[in-house]
């Protein structure tokens, strides 16, 4: 019940600050647009680099939006109150991450057909891409939230966040793009999806504790 109230609060806040919703999405779109301009518009080339481009852009844009995950709550004392409240901080963190995922990733999934057109992806490749995005992006949000919680008290957190997180996202990037590559050659790609799913389960089990502990450290 209380958790549902937290979720409702998050979604309402996001709905009332639409600019922050749109900005990472536009950033994603722009990064993807830059690649054909940079490497040339050949359909073959674009198809080859397409999955990697979409995934790198997704990681970067999620980093951009993640910065705000706990910032306002930390500054206005909401976090301190939650620490004192009887609901577990891990649960609250999990709900916040879920809300963040819904707010920042679902729009990204919605405009992904456009990416398929831009980068000349075939239908099986696009299907694989959407599946990897669906399974992989919650992992981005969960692992990302740990680092966000650690850096929330710092004034100059932005670049540091990228420095901490990008190395951790390497396995996800590798498996996701290799799944799309397999799909482009008509090969089965369930193993890669299964591995991403396993990583997601691991993160789901451990990340809430890590986020809660990190928030306590930041709150001192």
């Amino acid at each position: 019940m209380k958790l549902r109230a937290v979720l409702y609060r998050e979604l309402t806040l996001a709905y009332r600050q639409k600019a922050e919703l749109i900005q990472p999405l536009l950033f994603f779109l722009l990064v993807v647009t830059l690649f054909p301009l940079g490497v040339g518009p050949g359909p073959e080339t674009l198809q080859k680099i397409g999955p990697g481009v979409v995934w790198v852009a997704a990681i970067l844009s999620s980093l951009l939006g993640m910065d705000r995950l706990f910032r306002d709550e930390f500054l206005d004392g909401w976090m301190e109150q939650t620490l004192l409240s009887p609901i577990g901080l891990g649960w609250v963190a999990l709900i916040k991450v879920l809300a963040h995922w819904v707010i920042s990733i679902v729009p990204l999934l919605l405009i992904s057909p456009l990416m398929a057109l831009f980068l000349n992806l075939t239908v099986p490749m696009y299907t694989a891409l959407v599946i990897t995005l669906l399974v992989g992006t919650p992992l981005l949000s969960l692992v990302g939230a740990i680092a966000v919680a650690l850096t929330v008290g710092l004034q100059r957190g932005g670049v540091l966040l990228a420095l901490l997180l990008l190395p951790l996202f390497v396995p996800l990037l590798i498996f996701a793009t290799s799944a799309v590559d397999a799909a482009s050659m008509q090969l089965p790609y369930t193993p890669q999806i299964a591995i991403i799913g396993a990583m997601l389960m691991l993160a789901l089990a451990l990340a809430p504790f890590a986020i809660a502990y990190a928030l306590r450290v930041s709150q001192n």
């Binding site: 692992v143 740990i146 680092a147 650690l150 850096t151 008290g153 710092l154 100059r156 957190g157 540091l160 420095l163 901490l164 990008l166 190395p167 951790l168 390497v170 396995p171 590798i174 498996f175 290799s178 990583m199 691991l202 451990l206 890590a210 502990y213 990190a214 450290v217 930041s218 001192n220």
Partner: protein, 252 residues
């Protein structure tokens, strides 16, 4: 055992332990590194395929192995700090971090220098090279996070969480890049089974491995001493220690 270990949660006890250990680590590592390097570079037979250029193995392999051990040591220290709330454990972690990063860099650099004559290129996106590079980035992350905090106590805790997250991720990163791309030769020394290297080449390698480990230990212990002094500057025991040293140097 527990009681014996627990006394080093006190900075002063840890400092004195470091002071006693440092000469041992230092001299033994100097001895091992001299013997191992001279033996390896001058007396070990040349490789039948790679000629004399294989000799860089005596620096490359110990540093590559120890770059991972360094991260493991850091993670153990972070875990101890997390579970038992020892301040000295976080200090140890921070003392090890730059040492491990430098050793990782040495492994990458010697690997590039070895790759040029053997593979004809300084860098390839091979699995082990990539995971070593990412290991270096993980070290940088821990160091940068600690450096960003003004409150070093809090910074130690935060960097500890990051080190533990990294250690969970390391095997995943390792296997992911392994499946992604592999060109590197197989491991030279494995724990199980016969090593794929002649014994007269192996001995100097093992001696150098030990020497390098002791060297890392010596530098880390020295850094830990400095860290303790810096953080405990206001304590009476540090004051009296500094005062005592000052008297001695003035007498000389």
């Amino acid at each position: 055992m527990w009681k014996w270990l627990n006394q080093y949660a006190k900075p002063e006890a840890a400092f004195n332990l470091c002071r006693r250990l440092l000469p041992w680590f230092g001299w033994l590592s100097g001895l091992c590194l001299t013997v191992g390097t001279v033996w390896g570079l001058a007396y070990a037979p040349a490789d039948y395929q790679q000629g004399d250029s294989f000799r860089i193995i005596y620096i490359h392999v110990p540093s590559a192995i120890l770059s991972m051990s360094g991260y493991a040591a850091m993670a153990v220290a972070a875990l101890v700090g997390l579970v038992w709330q020892w301040r000295t454990a976080y200090m140890t972690m921070i003392a090890i971090a730059p040492v491990g990063a430098v050793v990782t860099f040495i492994a990458l650099f010697t690997g590039a220098a070895w790759g040029k004559p053997m593979w004809g290129t300084w860098w390839v996106w091979d699995a082990r090279l990539t995971s070593e590079l990412i290991l270096l980035f993980l070290y940088f992350g821990v160091i940068a996070l600690y450096a960003a905090f003004d409150d070093k106590q809090q910074g130690g805790k935060a960097a500890g969480v990051m080190a533990l997250v990294g250690v969970v991720n390391l095997p995943i990163i390792h296997f992911s890049v392994e499946w992604w791309n592999t060109l590197h030769q197989g491991a030279t020394i494995t724990k199980f089974g016969k090593p794929s290297i002649a014994p007269e080449m192996l001995w100097p390698l093992l001696i150098n491995l030990l020497g390098m480990a002791l060297f890392m230990a010596a530098v880390s212990v020295h850094r830990l001493q400095n860290e303790i002094l810096r953080r405990e500057l206001h304590r009476p025991w540090v004051m009296s220690l500094l005062h005592h040293n000052g008297e001695k140097s003035r007498a000389v």
